[in-house]
């Protein structure tokens, strides 16, 4: 890592990976159906769990196609596998295994990534995966959680493990100062008036930045820690109660990833929408700090504030 530039005041360090390790270890202890598949990443953190459950904690080495294939095979035999590594190696590198060894087989798994979208920018583009949610969005049936606080990780993981479906839990080390309720769709954090300028949806780690960026604006700010399935009905209600049918989506991954969901939610009315997130049209080749990349993509507080005013006060 490089010498850290000061973190934005609207971003709080969140030890989501440590929280995940503790929650997954507890799940392995509690339920013999739970299995954990690793590809070296975080294997050191799961050493105790592996010692206690040598048959259910499997480190396949640096073999990410096999990471997903093994998870699929375990699910076919009735287990509930968690597969974990950094986001580019969990979703992008073995994408056909995600598509076929899980989806096509109707096999369930909980994929838990860390580092999204650019928690480790010193490592460069190879360790960034801002397209992970958009890629999974090409496949039917995925639930996608994007927590914004470490305390949101354990309940989301527990909920995922109770089911049989395909769940992606996208972790970052950067988030918000306070945990929010998870599991119930959009949560209103700040309600605008009946004459408000619209609705701003902050996904996961973007919330505190969005709150700061929209301070002084009459808008509704809603929080989403779960983006698939998208809470279309909830967005429709929030927009109906707002003064304008204008929606600003602020996501920590590729800009516009949820634009089609917003369009579907509001297809019954005239509306406007704008999407903020990681830039699609250029590859940012800088290293530096995550805050540097927030600025480059216009999703630091100042960038969001400027875009929000352009869009909502137009």
């Amino acid at each position: 890592m490089t010498t850290a530039a000061p973190e934005l005041p609207d971003v709080t360090a969140q030890p989501m990976r440590d929280t995940f390790v503790a929650a997954a270890t507890a799940a392995l202890d509690a339920d013999p159906r739970t299995a954990l598949v690793l590809a070296d990443i975080s294997a050191d953190r799961f050493a105790e769990a592996a010692a206690r459950h040598p048959d259910r904690v499997v480190n396949v080495g640096i073999r990410e196609q096999l990471l997903i294939g093994v998870a699929g095979g375990m699910a076919l035999a009735g287990m509930r596998p968690i597969a974990h590594t950094f986001a580019p190696f969990l979703v992008e590198r073995p994408f056909e295994q995600v598509k076929l060894d899980l989806g096509h087989q109707e096999a369930g798994a909980v994929l838990v990534s860390s580092g999204g979208s650019y928690d480790y920018p010193g490592y460069g583009r190879t360790h960034m995966a801002p397209g992970d949610v958009a890629l999974l969005d090409t496949l039917p049936g995925w639930t996608v959680h994007v927590p914004g606080h470490a305390a949101e990780v354990a309940p989301l993981l527990a909920d995922a493990l109770r089911g049989d479906g395909r769940v992606y839990l996208r972790l970052s080390e950067r988030g918000n100062a306070a945990a929010r309720p998870v599991g119930d769709g959009l949560v209103t954090v700040r309600a605008g008036s009946g004459r408000s300028s619209g609705v701003v949806v902050a996904v996961g780690p973007m919330l505190d930045r969005v709150l700061a960026a929209t301070a002084g604006l009459d808008v509704t700010v809603a929080y989403a820690a779960t983006v698939r399935p998208f809470d279309r009905a909830g967005l429709g209600r929030l927009v109906a109660a707002a003064g304008q049918a204008d929606v600003l989506m602020v996501e920590p991954y590729l800009a516009g990833t949820s634009a089609h969901e917003v369009a579907a939610a509001l297809s019954d009315r005239r509306h406007r929408q704008m999407s903020l997130g990681v830039t699609r049209d250029i590859e940012v080749r800088g290293y530096g700090t995550p805050a540097d990349h927030d600025r480059a993509h216009g999703i630091d507080t100042a960038g969001i504030a400027a875009a929000a005013r352009d869009f909502l006060l137009a």
Binding site: D55, V60, L66, G73, M74, L76, E96, D101
Partner: protein
């Protein structure tokens, strides 16, 4: 069910003919036919009645291309209705040119894109071991050209290092890999710690022995040699 009238090895060409309309030529061309028959007739502990039982043996057709022999054997053994063969590859048929496990009773995986079966097989074998089902076998059929895909080698390596004795790979070798396998396919498995055996892919006795003789503590690779493609 018509299985009582189409349940023998000698019936397989007629069953394949229901799909292809050309039984003599097509049946002889099916490189997997004898391996599949020996597995389902004599090796695998799985029947239509136990097809969902957790202790059943698993057969994973990784090389999903050219599944007519697979469907014929499943029909002969009563997993699928013989009448379904006539609808092969029609829109609402359960049987396509690549099998879909959600549509074909008895098919453990859907396949078609090469190089997926061994990884799924390793995961299944690991899960069965974790569940204490040590007597349950997992047999994965691959082709020699399919082994070009690197994903296979991730699975071969790990299965060997972990000593997954319950896992068997049967490689149909019709020498169709573009760049070949100098030294033979079996060498790739043996180098990674598998027990490797090479037999004639039409010899039922040799295939049976290869599948069933002990291979203590190691996964088993059976290379089934058949006539070169084309």
């Amino acid at each position: 069910m018509s299985t009582t009238t189409f349940s023998r090895y000698a019936d397989l060409p007629a069953l394949i003919g229901l799909m292809t309309g050309d039984e003599k030529h097509q049946a002889a061309a099916e490189s997997t036919l004898d391996v599949l028959w020996v597995l389902y007739d004599r090796v695998l502990a799985v029947t239509p009645e136990t097809a969902d039982h957790p202790d059943r043996d698993r057969f994973l057709l990784s090389k999903g291309h050219g599944p007519a022999a697979f469907y014929a054997v499943l029909a002969a053994k009563g997993f699928i209705d013989v009448r379904a063969l006539r609808s092969w590859a029609e829109f609402d048929s359960p049987l396509g040119h690549h099998p879909d496990r959600t549509l074909v009773p008895g098919a453990e995986i859907g396949s078609g894109s090469l190089g997926h079966g061994l990884g799924l097989g390793v995961g299944t074998a690991l899960a069965l071991r974790a569940q204490g089902r040590t007597r349950t076998r997992v047999v994965v059929l691959v082709g020699d050209a399919e082994l070009d895909e690197g994903s296979n080698h991730e699975a071969i390596q790990l299965a060997g290092r972990l000593g997954l004795e319950s896992l068997t790979a049967v490689a149909i070798d019709n020498r169709s890999a573009t760049h070949g396998w100098p030294g033979g396919i079996g060498e790739r498995f043996a180098r990674e710690g598998w027990a490797a055996r090479s037999v004639g892919g039409r010899d039922h006795t040799a295939l049976y022995d290869a599948f069933t003789l002990p291979h203590s503590g190691r996964p088993l690779a059976v290379v089934a040699r058949v006539n070169p493609k084309g």
